[in-house]
């Protein structure tokens, strides 16, 4: 399988702090790669470097066979790599209608006729057509995240970067969004990187999970290892315990 994203020795410094300390990873084409870690572990910084939101970094980053330089990304890159952010309350312009929000990538990338594309984009993420002329504040958190996903999918990217896409949502809505993301990822054969602090969420979607701590990748876990609880690093063990702890306590209390 060829690699869609190849990162080698990526280092990011914020003053004296090394946000990323020489990490290397490969995301296979058409697969979903998970990155999990606590806040401050550098997991979001990886996505920010890829999308050109970090001006200064060292190392080699290759996306779709092309080397990235600094924070400059050309239009073709922006079309091919799209990102969904954590907070759908902050990532949609509050004074633009959904129509205007979705029209933007269409205009930027000259995708075609908005009258045809926008209703199709809304239908793809399971939103009713009348959402088109509403404002973000008139939608629920889950509906807003669907709009953000619709916007990311409009340019038909081959790579989708997901930064905590369900952390701001209720568990019931989280299930809907995860189902939607998995269906889209499979149907379109997208390469995805899912970043989250919730190990169970990442493990649900990704066959391969990287555990990060203080700017380093401390462990690489596949589904079998996770199911069997075969983790070595203390960070991974803490994350497994955190997602199971509550349940083990519950069963103890029940005895």
């Amino acid at each position: 399988m060829s690699a869609a994203i190849r990162i080698n020795g990526l280092t990011v410094r914020y003053g004296p702090l090394k946000a990323l300390d020489g990490i290397s990873l490969t995301a296979a084409r058409g697969a979903c790669l998970g990155i999990v870690g606590e806040s401050g572990s550098g997991k979001s910084t990886v996505l920010r470097v890829l999308t050109g939101l970090v001006p200064d970094w060292q190392g080699k980053v290759e996306v779709g066979g092309r080397q990235l330089v600094g924070a400059r990304r050309d239009l073709a890159f922006c079309r091919d790599v799209q990102m969904v952010f954590q907070d759908p309350y902050g990532s949609l312009h509050p004074r633009h209608t959904i129509d205007a929000i979705l029209d933007e990538p269409i205009a930027i990338h000259r995708l075609g006729d908005p009258a045809r594309l926008i209703p199709q984009a809304l239908a793809d993420v399971g939103l009713p057509a009348d959402v088109r002329f509403r404002y973000p504040h008139q939608l629920s958190g889950g509906q807003r995240q669907r709009v953000a996903i619709a916007r990311a999918l409009l340019p038909e990217p081959s790579i989708l970067l997901l930064d905590e896409p369900t952390s701001a949502l209720d568990v019931s809505v989280q299930a809907e969004i995860l189902n939607l993301l998995m269906a889209i990822q499979e149907r379109r054969g997208l390469t995805a990187i899912l970043v989250s602090h919730n190990l169970a969420v990442v493990a649900h979607m990704c066959p391969l999970v990287l555990v990060m701590d203080r700017g380093r990748i401390v462990e690489e876990l596949d589904r079998d290892a996770l199911d069997a609880g075969e983790v070595r690093s203390p960070q991974a063990r803490a994350l497994v315990a955190a997602s199971r702890h509550v349940r083990s306590q519950a069963s103890n209390a029940g005895r």
Partner: protein
Amino acid sequence: MSTPLLEVRGLRVAFPGQEGLREVVRGISFTVGCEKVGIVGESGSGKSMTARAILDLIPPPGRVSADRLTFAGQDLTRLKPGERTRLRGRRIAMVLQDPRHALNPVMTIGAQLAETFRLHHRLSRGEARRRSIEALDAVHIRDPERVVRLYPHEISGGMGQRAMIAMMLAPGPELLLADEPTSALDATVEAGILETLDELVTARGMGLVLVSHDLDLVAAFCDRVLVFYAGRIVEELPARDLAQARHPYTQGLLACVPRLGERRRELPVLRRDPSWAAS
């Protein structure tokens, strides 16, 4: 329990909207003794509003009404505003979601804690400082002598939340309301905070109301769970029996959470039945 610490009967909270009054809490009744009660539900289910209504913290133009709202035998609805204020903090305390917003950014942790002690116990400066360090030690903050000199931005979220808990427990309240106390924190920090909370609440024989959207978490740390949906309690059950929940909403909430060791192609999605919200 003979006299419950808190008794709530027919609590309603409403906000005026374009189509008249909109009720966000619609006739809720429950009691809390010296126990840990969990309130779970989705956003908008009225769980935070219920906690706020108990403390009289519903912002205008919100309106609160209740058939009965008593704390340790006192009728809260009949208290004068001043009396209600004195009760708040001293006998009923509340831990909020995000320590980064709830702590004063321009005061050191020590100064904020000492202020609480001096306000509620009329202590000297030195005594208040000593008690502050003890309080931080009780919530398992390492090196409390150093931490009292730090500002909120210099400590982690988990430490901030521990400091908040120390501050809320300083006046020795009988009832603690915790509104999503760990939602803003890392999952690995969450368990430690809740264990500390649990330990202190048990040691002091306090009542605890834990408001959370996380059913698993509430089940692990509470004795009893109240499940909120659309401003009403749809199910009330002992935490250990949560797996046997009968209401389809509770079952749906439990089923839709991804869990380690389970391989599901698709997560079950809640099918909301309009009858759940009906009275």
